[in-house]
Structure formats: C-alpha cells, structure tokens
Subunit: 251 residues, 2 copies
C-alpha cells in the first residue's frame, strides 16, 4: 500500500500533545497543502488563522468547551469560512452593495464556502499527519462564536468554522471502527431502508465491543445510543442568528 493511503487509513484524533511548537516551515507546508485542495469555481472561500499566543490559546480552549488540548499543542489553526474577501473582490470590480447582498443571502454560497473550507482543512490535516504530527478537529469553536470572532478579530462575512490542533504526539489514541463500508457506500441508488436497520444493529455490536474492550467493560455504548443522545441535546442552535449577525442570512 502506498504511503498516502497508509497515512489516510492510519488517522486517529490526537488529544495529547508534547509542548513543542511547530516551526514556520512546518506551518507553511501545512497551509500550502490546504491551499492545494480543489475549490468551487476557484472562489477559495476560506481563511486560516494560526494561533500561537498562549493566552489566546487558553481562551480558545475555554470557549471551545474546556478542551485542554486546544491550548496544549504545537499550533492551533482556526479554519474560517470567508466571504469577506469575495466581497472585496466584488467591490474592486464596482459591484454595488445591493448586488453583493443578493449574492450573499444564499444557502448555496454558504454551502460552497463550508465545503471549500473543509476540503482545505483535510489537506492540512493529512499534511500534518504525513510529517508525523497528530491532529484533532475542534468543532467546539462554534460553541461561542461571538467571543471567538472577537478574539480573532474576524469581520462580517467571516465565520470561524472549526479549529485544528496540530502537534507532536504525546499519547496515541485508539481508532474507532467506522460504519461498515456497505452502509456508507451504495451502488447506483440509495440503499433500501430495511438494509440500513440491519446494518445499524450489527454496527452497534461492533461499537459496544470496542468500548467494552477499551474501558475494561465500563462503557458499552451503542452507536445509535450515542446518536440519539446527541440529537436529544441539539447544540449551537444560535448558529443561524449568528450568521445573520455576520450579514450572512441564509435564504
């Protein structure tokens, strides 16, 4: 198997890093890798903010739900959806406020920018892993977007979407078994519902066994149980109004 696929398949999220900062060269390679990703209609609708200031990292760690590894890592990247740059480009070409408004109240444009940002981030993550570093995505930056935006001084039309911790690995985590391939990959058409349910039941057994083995029998959660728990406590329901406050109402 070639090194690229080996790196991809060997991924696990790392939550324990050595206190050793990344070099500028490492950061540059990670960002260059992010930028090499495909981008819809060449819009490149993202900005990456690199945080190394200790105090700011501590603040972000608290804001992201008290996740210590947001502060303790080699470098913290915040991946932001960025339509501000597109707005400047449009103004540069003489577009009016009204024309720009019409283009920006778009669920499509939001979706494009989220996809662009995520494609870039995954390249960054893999580049870091290819250098022997560990990574962990931090959706928790969306817990308190007002404060995070203030801290990073992001203007209107910019949304911090998630963080990426990168650093030298201190403790290697386990690799959680994913859904069976036949659950996620369907041929020609979407799978019939009865097959889904049988797959979920089988996958529940896999996941329960995984937790049981990892925790000496203390945890035996089913996957469906985790999902139900998550859905019973919907998070970040303010996101839509935050987007609106950043002049990105989704229409």
């Amino acid at each position: 198997m070639n090194d690229v696929i080996k790196t991809i398949l060997n991924h696990r999220s790392i939550r324990s890093f050595q206190s050793k900062a990344l070099t500028n060269e490492q950061i540059q390679t990670i960002v260059a890798s992010a930028q090499a990703a495909s981008t819809s209609s060449f819009v490149q609708a993202y900005t990456i903010i690199g945080v190394s200031d200790e105090e700011k990292k501590e603040a972000l760690a608290v804001l992201s739900g008290n996740q210590a590894y947001v502060a303790k890592n080699g470098h913290f990247f915040v991946f932001c959806l960025d339509l501000h740059r597109l707005r400047l480009a449009a103004m540069y070409e003489g577009m009016t406020e009204d024309e720009i408004y019409d283009a920006f109240v778009s669920t499509e444009l939001y979706t494009v920018a989220v996809i662009d940002t995520a494609l870039a981030a995954q390249n960054a993550a893999l580049a870091a892993e290819a250098m022997g570093l560990g990574i962990c995505y931090i959706g928790g930056v969306r817990n308190n977007l007002e404060e995070v935006s203030r801290l990073l001084q992001t203007p209107d039309y910019v949304v911090p979407l998630f963080g990426l911790c990168v650093g030298y690995i201190k403790h290697v985590s386990g690799k959680k078994p994913r859904l069976p391939q036949e659950a996620v990959y369907h041929q020609e058409v979407y799978l019939a519902e009865d097959k889904h349910i049988a797959q979920l039941a089988a996958y529940n057994k896999t996941i329960s066994a995984y937790y049981k083995q990892r925790t000496d029998g203390k945890r035996t959660d089913r996957w469906t149980q985790q999902i139900a728990k998550k859905l019973k406590n919907p998070q970040r329901l303010y996101l839509k109004s935050y987007l609106q406050s950043k002049k990105l109402p989704l229409m």
Copy 2:
C-alpha cells in the same frame, strides 16, 4: 518532501479521462479512505453513491450542466449529506418524531454534515490521486437536485452535495496559482482590510499572466473579475427550498 505532501501539492482537476473503469478494489480503497476521515461527534453523516451505469452517468452529466467528463471517467461518486441514517438511529432508540424534528431543523447540524461529507471526500480524492488516478469535483450536481435525487433514489434527509469523477488521466490540466499564502493564512488575528486589497491587486496580475500564457493571450481575466462575474449571477438559489422539501429547513 514526502509522498503524501507531494501528492497533495501536485493536485489539479482532471477533466479528460480514459475509458477504463476502476476495479472494485480501487473503489473499496477510495471509500475506505473517505471513511477514515475525522467526523464530528462520530456522526458519519454522509453516504457515497457510486455510479457506473452508463445511462445514469449520461443523465447526471446533462443534469450537472452538460459536463461530458461526468459520464466519461473511471467511476463517478456522488457525495451525499446524510441525516437519514441518524434519523433511523434515533428511531431505533425510541426518539419521537417531534424530538427528531427539533434536532433536524438546525443550521448547525446541516453545517456539521456538510463538513463531514467534505472531509471524507477530500480523503477519497487524495487516495485516488495517490493511485495515479485523476479527480474532478462536480458542484454541478446541485444544479438540478430534484432530478438528481430521483435518479439516485435518495430519501428525505439526504442531499447530494457534489460529485467526484475519478479515472485514468487522458489529459493533464494546468495548475492554477492559488491566492498568495499571506492572503489565506493570517497570524493571531484576521488581516486588516487595506492589506487585503493590495493582495488582491497583486494576485490579479498573477492570474491574468497565467491565463495569458495558457491561452496565447486570448484570456487575461483578473481573479476579482471572475469572482464578480460569479456573484452577479447567483446560482442555485432554490437550495434552501430544496432542503426544506427534504425536511431539512434551516433554522
């Protein structure tokens, strides 16, 4: 430089493929790579539909805006945001329709699922490139989502987000220069506005020179000009109402 980073930096979109189908083993490796990506709270909120049926590929090529390479490639993958599986998991755990509705009318959950789908897709793209294959993302599947959904028989709560053509390369395309790194990567805080504008002006020159050289002087578009043109013709404004019709109103 290691092979992973070399593969990442060498990416270009391929739009001309040989008529040679991928093997099942190649497809399995690509999907396994997709599944190895990080997933928010382990939701794995995507499904990949592989299309090899010639007639269906031709139909998708037309629906995606008459892009011939959607039909002519080694395999066509459609990456779908999938909350249907989460719904089944929730029902499996006895959640009520109302509880599920409350969880699903969420811009946050939509955003999570878009990110999950894109992270998986970028792994798939890189795995394919690592095997010497070419790839091209197809946002055009969002041009006609009603028809695409019908063709792929996707149920409510599932949204085909984009396609990915994979295949043996016939014609290698050029690599368009990205925004300068200092435009996309900001340190500690978001960059001040005046710096952005200077960067755009400089980048315009780079892009104009690139097109000029590639087209023997016929094209000299500025980047800002391309962006303004795109924004003046907002696309796929029906996306929000499509999501609503799929029982995913964004609240």
